[in-house]
Symmetry: C2
Subunit: 104 residues, 2 copies
Amino acid sequence: MYRLNVLYNQPTDPAAFDEYYFNTHIPLARKIPGLRHVSISKTEGLDGSTPDIYLVTTLDFDSKEAFGAGLGSPEGKATAADVPNFATGGVTMLGAELVTEDFN
Amino acid sequence: MYRLNVLYNQPTDPAAFDEYYFNTHIPLARKIPGLRHVSISKTEGLDGSTPDIYLVTTLDFDSKEAFGAGLGSPEGKATAADVPNFATGGVTMLGAELVTEDFN
């Protein structure tokens, strides 16, 4: 599997981010051909502080080739073009080979 | 579910990191009581560059309480104490509520 790790920094307005992200952006992303698995986790500092990263999303594809094809599709381009509409704190996208994924 | 997102920065010696991480650290981590699911992805820049973050690991527990109990256990403390032995580039740990996890 090939994973896109998406790290969203703290947005200027978290409630507005959430509203747009879950109701507009993720539905767009789910249309990307070849997308197999989605996880979204909302962070908090282990010591009660507010971390720089607000949300961590993983998007899994069968292979790097499938990921490339998905991103290059009209749906992939529409999803990428939508990111500036809500990611007011900035975002880091990391392609990654998924080397381990199992129940413990 | 409650997730610990662990973001390892580029280590000084990636081969030495991998050797220690997969053969010593992860076996230690897998002993943490309540750990349900593990994923590890090794990153690459989408444009061929080397990203600041080298490896992204997720460790899932049934709840925030189970996560706290696991981290507070002798196995959790041993795992945390082991991190400086290999994380030569530094590490960011983000506790997070897993709000979405599904097949697309």
